[in-house]
Each structure stands twice: as C-alpha cells, then as structure tokens.
C-alpha cells in the first residue's frame, strides 16, 4: 500500500522554484532516502508534506486521504513525525519533558515510554538534564527520540546524522534498520554510507525536480546523479 504520495507538488519562493512538480510515492514499510545537492529542495519538499510550508500547487495524500488542506498539527496527528534539520528542541526543558510532550500528545504514558524512547538513542542517563545543555550531536539524538516517541506511521528525518560522531552514526544505522518494517521512514541524508546501508530506495532531487529514483547501488552508478553532485550536470 502507498502510504504517502504527492502529485505535481510545487513551491516557489518569489521567482525561485524550490520544488517543481514532484510526483512521489512511498510504500508503507519502506526506508526511503532523499538525497540531492545543497539547495535541491529536500527540506522544502518534506515541509510541504508535513504542512509547515504551504505549496504553490499540487497535492499530498497520506494513507489514502488527501491531506493537502490540513494544517500541520492535524497531519502530525495522522501519524507523521518530523524532525528538524536545524535542531529544534525545547532548550529550557529537560530531555525527559521534551520526549514526554511527544508521548502525551497521543495519549501515551510518559512514565513508561519516556525512558524507553531515550534509551533507544542512548540518552537515558540525560533524562533530567536541560536539553539546551546537551552537545549538538546529543540534541540531534533527542530530536530522533521525540520522533520515535510519537510512534509515527511515517518518520521524516532531515539530516539526522549531521554532527554525530562515527560511533553514534553506526548506532543510528542499526536503529533505522531495526525500525524498518514497522515504520515507514523518509530520510534526508548527505552521508552516503548511511544512505547505502539503510535505504531500500533512493530518490534524488536536483533543482527541485526528481532526477533519479532506484535502489542504492543503481543510484550510485547513475551518471546523471554523479554529474549533479559534481556540479557539472
């Protein structure tokens, strides 16, 4: 079943076409990587999907329903979790409360679920610390924990491994593989080893358009993709 699909989805910023007529289909349970050079429109695209950004034209369907007109919080309530590219945690609240806010919104039990979510990203020991006091990498992990704590049907991660150490990246890869199958994941990622080792399918965005789509190995061998990344395309 297709969990998420977009049709002719576009966003202009003034004269700039950040996203242009994107048709995108994501089957339930898949781990999809979304890659592309800086400024390709990846963040804008997922912003359109979850309702943070209003589209210029086009539609978004989620789990069979047209959600194009729903405000962001209603889309999140349908089971979309979104983690920000630029870390956005509640800096003056504790890590535990950050995650508890995610748990409470869907009526979960914070006492039980908060430690579990923090444990999955190895932050359990920091539960009572203020989120703003964590290192940048740990704040990224806290964002991921807040995403997990929502038990979403679709988890959107915008460059989650930026600022993580090598060992944290390894742990992240196994976390994603573990989630695969239960949760559908849309992963924006610059780190190619993460893409190659976790994604089922890769979509390449360039100048706001889908340039290529396919299994990781095929994408790696694709000449147009190489050209886009080398800036000669």
């Amino acid at each position: 079943m297709t969990l998420l699909s977009t049709r002719r989805l576009s966003k202009d910023f003034g004269g700039l076409h950040a996203v242009r007529g994107v048709d995108f289909d994501l089957p339930e349970g898949q781990i999809r990587a979304l890659i592309g050079p800086n400024g390709a429109g990846k963040t804008t695209f997922v912003g359109l999907v979850c309702g943070r950004i209003a589209p210029t034209s086009g539609s978004v369907r989620f789990a069979g329903d047209d959600i194009s007109r729903l405000p962001a919080h209603r889309r999140i309530r349908l089971g979309i979790a979104y983690t920000f590219q630029i870390t956005s945690v509640f800096a003056r609240l504790t890590c535990g409360e950050n995650v508890a806010l995610a748990v409470r919104r869907r009526g979960g039990d914070p006492d039980r679920e908060v430690p579990a979510a923090l444990d999955r990203v190895a932050l359990a020991a920091h539960r009572h610390r203020l989120a703003g006091d964590l290192s940048y990498g740990h704040q990224r992990l806290l964002e991921i924990a807040m995403g997990l704590a929502q038990s979403p049907r679709l988890l959107i991660l915008d460059e989650p491994t930026q600022g993580l150490s090598d060992s944290e990246i390894e742990a992240f890869k196994s976390l994603i593989r573990e989630l695969g199958g239960q949760t559908t994941i849309l992963l924006i990622e610059h780190n190619m080893s993460v893409v190659m080792e976790t994604a089922d399918i890769v979509t390449v965005l360039n100048f706001g358009e889908v340039l290529a789509e396919g299994p990781p190995e095929a994408i790696r061998a694709d000449r147009a993709v190489q050209a886009a990344y080398l800036g000669t395309g």
Binding site: H73, R77, F84, S88, V89, F90, R104, R105, R106, Q150
Partner: protein, 314 residues
C-alpha cells in the same frame, strides 16, 4: 520531599501565613494586604498568559474592567445582589477574552501587543461613551447596602480580607494545578518553542486561545472582586496604566513563577506607598527600581530565587 511536595508546601504555607496575618496586622497594613491579594490575583491571571504561554498583552485592563463593570453595572442598574453580579463580571471577562483572543491571536509578537493595546483602548472609550450608564472617569460608588454577600458585609475589613484571601487562594491553587496538568505543560512548550510544539501535533492556536480565556477570566474575577470589595468602579481601571501594572508586577516578581505575581504586587505596592510618602515623583523611583531589577535580577524576584536557591520552584 519530592519537588511537587515542596512546592505544594511552599504555596500552602504562603496561604496559611496570609490567613494568619489578618489577626496581627495593624489596620492600615491589613487593608493594604486585602488590596494586594486582589491585585495579585490579577497578576496571576496575567502571568498565565505572559509568564507561562509567552504572550505579551498590553491590554489586560479591558478584562479587569470587564469584570469590574460586569459586576458594578448589574448591581447599579439591575439591582442584582453581589453573588450573581460577581458571576456576571466573571462571565463578561470570559466572553470578552474569547472574542479578543480569537481575533488578536491571528497576530504574534509586537503585532499582538499592539492589537491587544488597541482593543483595550477601544474598551476604555466605550466606557466613556456610555457615560450615562458608567459615569465615565468619575465612576460610581457601590453602596455598602449593595455589598452584602450571603449575609456577609464585604465593606467590613475582616470580611473583605477573608474574601480577598479566598479569591487569591483559589486562583493560586488553580494555577498550581494547571501547570502540572498536560494543558499547562503544553502552554510552557509553546512559550519555549511554538513551532516545535505544533510539529509535535499540538493545536497551538487553541491552546493559546485557552490561555487567553483563562487569563482574561481570572483578571475579570479580580476586577469584579476589586469593585465589590472596595465599593467603586471607574474608567481609570480600564486605562493603559492598568494594563502595564500587571506586566510590571509579574516582571518584578518573576514571570513564569507561581509565586512571582504575589511577590511583585506586594513589592510594587509598598514601593509606591513608601516612595510617595517621600516625594511626589514616586513613579520615577519605581522606574529606577525597575531598571535596576532588569539589570541585576533579570528573572525577577521569584526567578532569581529559582535560579539561586530553590530550583524546584514552579
């Protein structure tokens, strides 16, 4: 003791202390404290919106005045008894804050400040416009005979003190419960990072509207009680000065602390009281103190206590 236990003990202790003080205070301070408790209730209402939700309103005098006139006009013109009149005062604040909130919350930041200021200014002009009914700036007195609630004469100092204490205690405990409740925790999350709260699936508009209504209703309750306990309603309570005062009290006392509104109101009241005994330029003294506090105790009295001594202070 757990943090929740400590904070409960502290706030109940404050209420017990205020209750006991009425037996020992000389008449002058006894009267002052009644006034301070009602005004601190107004500050509690203001703090829910400003301190806990992060919305700075410059128009809260309209809610205070809605309560005061909702109560006063129905006593004066409809001959209502104090009980129903108080209720109408509170409901006026509720209705007004729901309407103003629904419109003003379409804006944010500075625009929200200006829109609330404008609404309050319109409210003040409406009071003047209907001067035949409200007696405008001059205001009107609520007679002693009209201030007897359930056989209790609220113009008597002891009854008045007890009524003020009851109002203050109710609102303090209500807000203590509120910030422990998921709704209150969501308000704090909105204050900290509204975009994040929305992207966790919270309807931030509805939460903010709920905060405006709670805040406006508590402010109206304070306004209604103030008019009834001190026997007067006048347009000066709807001026911008009465919108700035709760902001000042909350800033001085510590925004986003439960005890802050009371500390700030108490402090400012006696500061003005003492300064005006020394000089006619007492507002200058208040201004200087405010500048000093924003320089050296940025988080207000309650905020500094939380930062330095009691980290558990809610």
């Amino acid at each position: 003791m757990s943090d929740a236990g400590k904070s409960l003990a502290l706030h109940l202790g404050l209420l017990a202390l205020l209750f006991a003080l009425q037996f020992v205070l000389p008449a002058y301070h006894h009267g002052n404290l009644s006034r301070i408790m009602v005004l601190a209730t107004y500050a509690i209402g203001y703090n829910l919106l400003f301190g806990y939700t992060g919305l700075l309103s410059l128009g809260h005098a309209m809610f205070f005045a809605a309560g005061m006139y909702g109560m006063g006009l129905t006593i004066r013109h409809l001959g209502l008894s104090p009980g129903p009149a108080l209720l109408i005062g509170v409901l006026s604040g509720l209705a007004l804050s729901a309407a103003v909130g629904a419109l003003a919350l379409r804006t944010a930041g500075v625009a929200f400040m200006i829109v609330t200021l404008m609404f309050a200014q319109a409210g003040y002009l409406i009071i003047l416009y209907f001067g035949d009914w409200t007696r405008g700036d001059e205001g009107f007195v609520i007679q002693q005979a009209q201030r007897v609630l359930w056989g209790i004469d609220l113009s008597q100092p002891t009854a008045r003190y007890f009524a003020a204490w009851t109002l203050f205690a109710t609102c303090l405990i209500l807000s203590l419960r509120l910030i422990r409740h998921p709704f209150g925790k969501t308000l704090i999350a909105i204050r900290e990072n509204e975009d994040r709260a929305r992207m966790l699936g919270y309807d931030t508009f509805r939460h903010k509207l709920g905060a405006v209504v709670l805040s406006g209703t508590i402010s109206a309750a304070a306004g209604a009680a103030y008019g009834l306990l001190f026997g007067y309603a006048g347009a000066s309570f709807a001026t911008v000065q009465y919108s700035i005062l709760p902001l000042l009290w909350v800033l001085l006392g510590g925004a986003g602390t439960l005890i802050g509104p009371f500390l700030g109101t108490l402090f400012t009241f006696y500061l003005i009281d003492i300064a005006s005994g020394l000089t006619t330029a007492y507002m200058l003294v208040v201004g200087v103190v405010l500048v000093l506090i924003t320089l050296f105790a940025r988080q207000g009295i309650g905020g500094e206590i939380r930062a330095r001594v009691w980290a558990w202070l809610p």
